[in-house]
């Protein structure tokens, strides 16, 4: 067999013209060489000076900008850049969730800031930014235009002309567009939430194409679901439908995490990897998700349960790559064996795409596009020990199950999920600790009170059979639930508070905002620990305690904050520092650390290294 394969080598007798190839390489890297002598160009000394000045400015400008302290409204990106595997970060604005690729061009729409960016995938530079006066959640390049799927006016498609930099055509489609739309067979295929399918040619001609919902492209086909039957059929470029069909089926041998049969009709998207078609069911931030592998050669359908909140998948380097919105993971799947590797990412990923030979992730918060180097450096998360799924909260544990030291419990702030700890959790478990992140499903902040959360954490630990000893790490307003949880528990042997929110902070900040004549609706939301509960809580005695505070110079005492709130900025800083001192005073064995260079509530991302070091040091102290 191998001899047959060797004989079939398609490159065995190919003649190679090295000079021609080299000229092509030189052309790509911008060297003005060719097989023929270059024409002599007239000397232009002014041009040399101008270009040199532009280059100097291009180098100097980012350096000058970096000297600016990070704004409280736009957190520093250092934490994300420092994450292993993140090769490049491009700030693109809030709400980035839609990315389209056209050759070397990446088109990114930041929905909340109404900005469409044109990015050179090779250099990572933003070539142009356009303002789009519409709420857009879909970007599809095709036919020389960029097609934008808008939710405005009951759903419409905008044709954006890159040459003029304007939207030159608006096409109503009588329903919210489904963002799996695709450019296929020289036309846009778009479906709406009414289950209607349309095609739009480059010149803007809209044609109804019957009932259908676009699921994606794979194996040279467009795949469209029939809303009536649930079947997903192939569509060829020659218009042939149904050459291949993934039939709707409810197969009781395929069950999701809750034990329910998986219904293929729920597949929200599909893609191709490793010669298989992969379908994603239950996609979305709050959902539990199952992947299905469909083998077109024999119709075999196999499930793969990775975890909740999957949200996008691509093929790259022969693997299927999937992102998890809830657990902040980039997951690599071997298409053949279905073996998975989990790589923690520093934030909620809104989408995943491939351009210039790399994976690109868009981080919904804080609005970044990041190039990921999957060839090296990615840190793999340890093996999942417990993934206890309850009705609304869960415990995700990693690390060796024969670990005998204190188990590290990660209790997140109210406004972010358990995935906030992804990088920290991976590193700690890889270093040999058992680590469990507690949190709630869904993309929105939970409305659980601190007391509810403390009870939920206790029940989750009971359910997983974890009795301690426990080292509890918390952040932001998670400190309130942690205090309630630790109250009277002997098995809590250490506590680390990251950027803890002082008791009464929200009321205080609201007063500062009102005093500055601003709208108090801008104050951060969140459940304060009420005074009565606070007053009833005791201290931690001699339990080892570390308090990590965010950088006050960056957060409160930077120019924009001081300019806006004046004395209120200094008062806010004092209030916050008093809060840190209060927490540090809860133990007779405590220390306080300031995390330099961190943005507002961004310590877990900006200085994950510091948190990891402090947890390890605390473990060492506890274990004596």
């Amino acid at each position: 067999m191998i001899e047959l394969l060797q004989h079939a080598d398609p490159a065995a007798n190919i003649e190679i013209d090295g000079a021609r190839l080299r000229a092509k390489v030189d052309d790509r890297i911008g060297i003005t060489t060719s097989l023929e002598p270059a024409r002599k160009r007239p000397s232009r000394p002014w041009l040399v000076v101008a270009v040199a000045a532009m280059v100097a400015a291009a180098i100097a400008l980012p350096m000058l900008l970096r000297e600016e302290p990070p704004s409280i409204f736009a957190p520093a990106y250092d934490g994300i850049l420092n994450t292993p595997g993140i090769e490049k970060v491009i700030p693109v604005g809030a709400g980035v969730s839609t990315v389209g690729v056209d050759g070397d061009s990446i088109w990114v729409m930041a929905a909340l800031s109404n900005q469409l960016h044109h990015i050179d995938a090779t250099t990572g530079s933003i070539l142009e930014t356009y303002t789009i006066d519409s709420y857009v959640e879909g970007v599809i390049p095709g036919g020389g235009f960029v097609w934008l799927l808008s939710y405005d006016n009951d759903g419409e498609v905008l044709r954006f002309d890159p040459d003029s930099g304007t939207v030159d055509l608006v096409i109503p489609i009588e329903g919210s567009p489904w963002h799996r739309s695709a450019w296929f067979d020289d036309r846009l295929w778009v479906s709406n939430d009414q289950g209607e399918l349309f095609t739009i040619t480059a010149d803007g001609e809209l044609t109804p194409a019957g009932p259908g919902s676009v699921k994606g492209q794979a194996m040279g086909y467009l795949w469209v679901a029939n809303p009536a039957t649930g079947d997903i059929s192939s569509l060829s470029e020659d218009g042939t439908r149904g050459e291949l069909v993934i039939p709707r089926r409810v197969d009781t041998s395929i069950i999701d995490e809750k034990g329910n049969p998986v219904d293929v009709i729920d597949a929200s998207s599909l893609t191709e990897a490793g010669g298989y078609i992969w379908l994603m069911t239950g996609e979305g931030p709050a959902s539990r998700t199952t992947l299905l592998r469909f083998d077109p050669s024999d119709g075999e359908l196999l499930p793969l349960v990775i975890g909740p909140g999957l949200h996008g998948m691509v093929e790259h380097d022969g693997y299927l790559w999937v992102i998890s919105y809830i657990d902040h993971l980039l997951v690599r799947v071997d298409p053949d064996t279905r073996e998975t590797s989990r790589y923690p990412m520093p934030g909620k990923t809104g989408g995943i795409t491939v351009a210039d030979g790399s994976i690109w992730l868009d981080f919904f918060h804080p609005g970044l596009l990041a190039r990921v180097d999957t060839s090296a450096n990615l840190i793999e998360a340890g093996e999942t020990l417990v993934d206890q799924v309850d009705t609304d909260h869960r415990l995700l544990c990693t690390g060796p199950d024969d670990f005998t030291g204190p188990i590290i419990i990660l209790e997140p702030p109210q406004w972010i999920g358990p995935g906030s700890w992804s990088v920290i959790q991976a590193e700690l478990s890889n270093q040999g600790s058992q680590v469990c992140a507690h949190g709630y499903l869904g993309g929105e902040p939970t409305d659980q009170t601190p007391s509810d959360r403390a009870t939920d954490l206790a029940s989750a630990l009971d359910g997983a059979g974890i009795s301690g000893p426990l080292l509890v790490v918390t952040a932001g307003d998670g400190v309130h639930a942690t205090r309630l949880f630790a109250e009277g528990r002997d098995n809590v042997v250490g506590i680390l508070m990251v950027d803890p929110v002082p008791v009464g902070w929200n009321e205080f900040l609201t007063s500062v905002i009102v005093a500055a004549g601003e709208d108090p609706d801008g104050a951060p939301e969140g459940a304060d620990l009420d005074a009565a509960v606070s007053a009833g809580l005791g201290d931690f005695g001699a339990t080892p305690l570390v308090v990590i505070g965010q950088d006050p110079d960056a957060v409160f005492l930077n120019d924009p904050f001081v300019d806006t709130y004046g004395d209120g900025a200094y008062a806010a800083n004092q209030f916050w520092q008093d809060g840190l001192a209060f927490y540090a005073g809860l133990s007779t064995d405590s220390r306080t650390v300031v995390a330099d260079g961190t943005g507002m509530h961004m310590v877990v991302w900006d200085r994950a290294d510091l948190v990891i070091d402090e947890v390890l040091a605390l473990l060492e102290r506890i274990e004596g």
Binding site: P10, K24, Y221, G318, A376
Partner: protein, 185 residues
């Protein structure tokens, strides 16, 4: 180009030129084997353009060849996404099954049959078989290119060969070799 830019260009060229001369032929063949002749030249140029841009980031401890193959693997992966070759392949596979055994099998038929079997495997199996059989990479180089552990390479190659045999057999009965008489008929 500024003086500093020219100096940088010379520095990169001193490292890049030997790299190109030593490896362009095998990288070009690597690309032909995965993309065909039509796209191989562009892909090879892209591989070396990436190498030019990232030569400073070439990891220490990894030999140039393995690093270049790693880049080539990613460039080819990118090309795959935009191609529809599999559509044609799938059709050919279906046609092969429905028409049954051909009356006369030539050497080219055998090659096409092996290639069809190869193409029906998963991407990772195809990579392993091509890298080891056609590109002649060592076990450690394959591990680097595919991002897998070195001690897993042999086992994966073994499994991939088994699956190739299986897919080859599933395409129909073993073709009998062509005779001189049949070929001239």
């Amino acid at each position: 180009m500024s003086t500093a830019g020219a100096r940088e260009h010379v520095d990169i060229s001193q490292r890049f030129d030997p790299l190109f001369d030593a490896h362009y032929q095998e990288i070009y063949r690597f690309c032909i084997r995965r993309l065909g002749v039509d796209d191989a030249e562009d892909a090879t140029a892209e591989v070396f353009a990436v190498a030019w841009r990232r030569i400073d980031g070439m990891p220490s401890g990894v030999d140039d060849r393995a690093w270049l193959y790693g880049v080539a693997q990613r460039v080819v992966g990118n090309h795959y996404r935009s191609r529809r070759r599999r559509q044609g392949l799938l059709k050919r596979l279906l046609e092969t099954r429905s028409t049954g055994e051909p009356d006369v099998v030539t050497g080219a038929d055998v090659d096409a049959r092996v290639l069809a079997a190869l193409s029906s495997l998963s991407g990772s199996d195809q990579d392993l078989l091509r890298l080891t059989t056609w590109d002649g990479l060592t076990r450690s180089e394959i591990a680097h290119v595919l991002g897998i552990k070195e001690n897993a390479v042999d086992q994966r190659i073994h499994r991939a060969r088994m699956r190739l045999r299986d897919r080859y057999d599933r395409l129909g009965p073993e073709p009998r070799p062509v005779t001189t008489k049949e070929a001239s008929a």
